[in-house]
């Protein structure tokens, strides 16, 4: 005879989810490396396309780095819920007594840790390759840390809405890119300001505000999207 077990509390449940997602990611180190490799390759494309003149590259560097970060976040967000949807564990998650808001947040947090955080930490290397002035590197890392978290949350909405579709890949970019634009504007403006020696703090503050808003609202939309996708 089995003893009825009390379900774990929300915090313990979310931590377990987070650990599970991170373990799954760590089992496939190549997939963690892919976005970084993508970042490096696209960085290499720009000097080939724009010409190697350092001055010109330096002028475009803030925008280039931010656009690449945006694209690599976009390309990875498609996979956040995909495998769990296919093996049915997403359905279990929806049935679980713990609030979906928090468990969704755990998923997104795991996604950010293996993409956005790593990207932000590695970005100084790419910044040097593309001749971003050294003074702006601090602003670049800070803006990427805040901005990629927003990107992960917003991308999660697109992922949740398209997870049930066979051909979601292109669609998710159509749905999500418009919502990425404010992050791109403020993120690259912060780096741009830092290259000119103007304080980047106001733009970082706006990114922080966007992050707060996204944390408060995006999980609601993601949870609704997951319910729709699982029902369909």
């Amino acid at each position: 005879m089995t003893v009825p077990r009390t379900p774990p509390g929300t915090a313990a449940f979310c931590l377990a989810l987070l650990r599970r997602q991170l373990t799954l990611a760590a089992r496939r180190p190549i997939e963690i490396g892919n976005p970084l490799l993508f970042f490096a390759m696209v960085v290499a494309l720009f000097p080939l396309g724009l010409g190697p003149a350092p001055d010109q590259l330096a002028g475009f560097a803030p925008g280039i780095l931010w656009i690449i970060a945006l694209l690599s976040s976009l390309l990875t967000s498609d996979t956040v819920f995909r495998s769990d949807f296919e093996d049915g564990s997403l359905e279990q998650l929806l049935l679980a007594p713990q609030p979906l808001f928090m468990s969704v947040l755990a998923y997104i947090c795991a996604h950010w840790l293996v993409t956005g955080l790593l990207l932000a930490l590695v970005s100084p290397l790419f910044a040097l390759m593309i001749k971003l002035p050294a003074a702006a590197i601090g602003a670049l890392v800070a803006s990427l840390l805040l901005g990629t978290a927003v990107l992960s949350l917003v991308g999660g909405i697109g992922a949740a809405l398209t997870v049930g579709l066979k051909r979601g890949g292109m669609l998710i970019s159509l749905l999500i890119l418009p919502f990425y634009m404010p992050v791109l504007i403020f993120g690259s403006a912060a780096v741009q300001n830092a290259t000119l020696g103007i304080p980047a703090a106001p733009y970082l503050a706006v990114l922080g505000a966007l992050l707060c808003l996204a944390i408060a609202l995006a999980p609601l939309a993601i949870a609704a999207g997951l319910r729709i996708s699982v029902d369909a």
């Binding site: 398209t162 749905l175 634009m181 939309a221 609704a224 029902d231």
Partner: protein, 247 residues
């Protein structure tokens, strides 16, 4: 009041009432469009700086205003269908998207045509133009998402969530793009304080804005009627209607 609300959920009732409204609204809309167009294009004084080219505002501004408002109509209809599970709100939301996209497109094209003689270029990366372009992408995203789902009920819900996310985001996108760069003139019509547009030019413009709202409503109702017929194609009342139509 509540019975009215409940009747809204009934496809045959809504189909019939939309038909009745259209019978009145359609002629009024056409008259308003003709009067506004003739008034604005022929009987207003030319602008002292822009000459006659400014007259495109009688199409450009109404299209842009209604395109923005249309997104909110779509999002509200989506919210109603999500919260009260009203099928007809879902129909309204689906019907909004292509009309809104078309109006946004008209606003962008007329803006480009006006920009060539006035700013000397078809396209500038100005804040408000960029916002309208993003609005077009948002509309097209909703259309694309709806088409991607095979299960149309789920498609409606997913689009409702997407349009609500868009509704929260539109002010943010608008403000951030505004912050980014602005060349477009500030709004000339203000609800508080004096408008910076002469009354003789303002009245036809207001008439045109009203007419475009009516055009939007007409298109919405017609789209909704078509969508209702399509969804209810297997029901008896639609079959009876088709038989009546044939005889």
């Amino acid at each position: 009041m509540w019975s009215f609300f409940h009747k809204l959920g009934s496809p045959p009732w809504l189909y019939r009432i939309a038909g009745t409204i259209l019978r009145w609204l359609l002629p009024i809309t056409l008259v308003a469009l003709c009067v506004g167009m003739t008034w604005g294009l022929l009987y207003t004084a030319p602008d002292f700086r822009q000459g006659n080219s400014y007259r495109i505002i009688y199409i450009h501004v109404p299209a842009a205003v209604v395109a923005l408002a249309g997104y909110y109509v779509m999002a509200l209809a989506g919210a109603v269908s999500l919260i009260w599970k009203m099928k007809m709100a879902d129909v309204a939301m689906k019907a909004c998207a292509p009309i809104g996209a078309a109006l946004t497109f008209i606003a962008l094209v007329t803006g480009a045509i006006w920009g060539k003689p006035t700013w000397g270029t078809w396209w500038v990366w100005d804040a408000r133009i960029t916002s309208m372009l993003i609005l077009l992408f948002l509309y097209l995203g909703v259309v694309a998402l709806y088409e991607a789902y095979d299960n149309k009920e789920a498609a409606g819900k997913a689009c409702a969530v997407l349009s609500l996310v868009g509704m929260v985001n539109i002010p943010i996108i608008y403000k951030s793009v505004d912050w980014w760069y602005s060349l477009h003139q500030p709004a000339s019509i203000k609800f508080t304080g004096d408008s910076t547009i002469d009354p003789s030019m303002l009245y036809p413009l207001l008439l045109m804005i009203a007419a475009f709202y009516a055009v939007f409503t007409c298109c919405l109702l017609m789209n909704m009627r078509a969508e209702i017929l399509e969804r209810e194609a297997r029901t008896n009342w639609v079959k009876k209607l088709a038989l009546e139509y044939r005889t």
